[in-house]
Amino acid sequence: MQSETLIPRVGVVTDIRQDTPDVKTFRVVGTDGKKLFEHIPGQCAMVSMPGIGEGMFSITSSPTNREFMEFSIKKCGCLTTWLHSIEVGQQITVRGPYGNGFPVESTFKGKDLLFIAGGIGLAPLRSVINYVRDNRENYGSVHIVYGSRSKDDLVDYQEIIDEWMNCPNTKVDLTIDREQEGWDGHVGFIPNYVKELQPDTSRTVVMCGPPIMIKFTLAGLKELGFVDNNVFTTMELRMKCAIGKCGRCNIGNKYVCKDGPVFSFDQLSELPNEY
């Protein structure tokens, strides 16, 4: 019988990192100890615990990581609450990769890049950022603007401090929503911060975060002179099949699982505002 993508493979959780009070990053390999499959930055996988549920999560690790995959998951629903309760050694199921991913080998190549992320929105961008870091010669300068509710809610904070801030030709600007003891960095919301930073409009923008952040940041970018076809984001809607058949995640005639999750804003401008 032919292969069936709806039937998942078993994955083993080999490491769990508490990133923020409600975000954990799970390291997953196959039962043979090897990576389950290869992917493009921005692609997703269906992660499941049989009997609990199955959901689509972006693969936050870079494909340049040859040993394992990572998923940064916020505790917010049934499956994610269960995932937050497990311990290292737990087996789960994984299927994928799904979706188109970011155009890291075409549109992005040779470009100066601006990454804008809010909260858990960093998870899908981390894959791209680390891919660019590991293929540094193929890309221009990198500017990362990342914000969260508080210092404690910055996902991957240690990696940002230890690695991204020390990466050549890379600038990192962090912000948190409200003043906090022990934080001497910028305070304020992402959309305003981006405008203050006056990024160069020739940069290709990769943005992910809560819908409200995306809406105001995009408006700000346009004011600065950025054009829609040079701004990319990654979408998230309810999914069951991940292959464009179950009928849930469409925005107009496009399925987020199959035609996305990565869209440029000129693509989104031709689709209904139903997300």
Binding site: T5, P50, I52, G53, I243, K245, P272
Partner: protein, 339 residues
């Protein structure tokens, strides 16, 4: 073209059923037609069509995707798939026959749905021309000919004979398997009946409804129309239309804990239901209007956009007969047609 006397139809069914399972429309205890397995003595229904569509032969209401054994922290995936057995669906109408080719475009597109594919491969579709299309029929709006249904083989009943012809290799094999009962004949009786059917179709009340609006206007223009509010006002979100619709194929995936293992099922679902798109962070189609619009946009705009202009409706009329608030795709098409 071949034929056999209608009086010998039980012999025909017996012959078909001797080598594979035969399904055909029969009258249920409630007097309504439904597909059922043939056994000695089963009579074929003479109703125009079944209440439920024929999609469940290839896309059953529930499909067991796979099983899991969970033992402490360990998970085992069990592939329980089996090749389908050969079967014949007899007496499928032109609308339902076309619905299979529409479902093919979803389930046989890469990555292929193996559950659907194996049923499609092992199922033979024998269609039956509609000798008397009824007032809710509008298959001709979508280029379907009730007098010449698609399928692997096609039948007509005229002048006390059942006429049959094959449309492809699978159909040829089918006709070959029943050839002992058949005699070769010309197609004059079929031609005459087709003319009669076309005469009836010509007079059907919804037969001339125009779908032009959905071709001439852009996706966003149609989506943003104010007409959806009015059209969807009374929709109960009951999902009956999606349940009886031969082309509705949205599905859910759910796990069931049997107490000694987990079974993962794929089941029919409905875009009309409030929790269809609900996720932890919100619901992209929160209002019934959005869900109602989704269903018709899918059939009249999105599906054609992705499939060379082919509409996702076959004009079977089931939603016209079954909707508790008498809303249906004809009213939607007409509303947009009236500028």
């Amino acid at each position: 073209m071949f034929r056999l006397p209608v009086s010998k139809i039980d012999d025909l069914f017996g012959t078909i059923a001797s080598s594979r399972t035969l399904y055909l429309p029969v009258d249920g205890n409630d007097g309504r037609a439904k597909y059922d397995k043939w056994s000695e003595g089963t009579k074929m229904s003479d109703k125009l069509n079944t209440v439920r569509s024929a999609k469940s032969f290839f896309f059953p209401q529930t499909t067991n995707i796979c099983d899991f054994n969970v033992n402490g922290a360990n998970v085992e995936v069990v592939d329980i798939r089996e090749e389908s057995e050969d079967f014949v669906v007899f007496g499928v109408r032109a609308c339902d026959a076309r619905s299979f080719t529409i479902l093919d475009k979803v389930f046989l597109a890469e990555p292929v749905d193996s559950y659907y594919a194996t049923r499609r491969e092992h199922g033979t579709v024998v269609t039956m021309a509609c000798s008397e299309p009824e007032e809710n029929c509008f298959c001709n709006v979508f280029g379907i000919d009730a007098a010449a249904p698609e399928g692997d083989a096609t039948c007509w009943i005229a002048d006390g004979y059942l006429y049959i012809t094959s449309n492809n290799e699978k159909g040829e094999k089918f006709v070959e398997s029943i050839s002992a009962l058949l005699e070769e004949t010309d197609d004059s009786a079929v031609k005459a009946q087709q003319e009669t059917i076309h005469g009836i179709v010509e007079k059907l009340p919804f037969g001339k409804v125009s779908t032009d609006h959905f071709r001439k206007n852009t996706l966003l223009e149609i989506f943003n129309s104010e007409k959806w509010e009015k059209l969807s006002e009374s929709c109960l979100g009951c999902g009956t239309c999606t349940f009886v619709c031969p082309t509705c194929q949205c599905y859910d995936i759910k796990d069931f804990d049997t107490g000694h293992g987990i079974k993962r099922y794929r089941t029919w679902d409905s875009c009309m239901y409030a929790d269809f798109t609900k996720m932890a962070h919100g619901n992209s189609r929160n209002a019934q209007m959005q869900r109602f619009r989704q269903r018709f946009m899918h059939k009249l705009v999105y599906f054609p956009d992705n499939n060379n202009g082919e509409f996702g409706c076959v004009g079977c009329g089931r939603c016209l007969s079954r909707c508790p608030i008498s809303m249906n795709i004809i009213k939607v098409i007409k509303e947009f047609g009236e500028e």
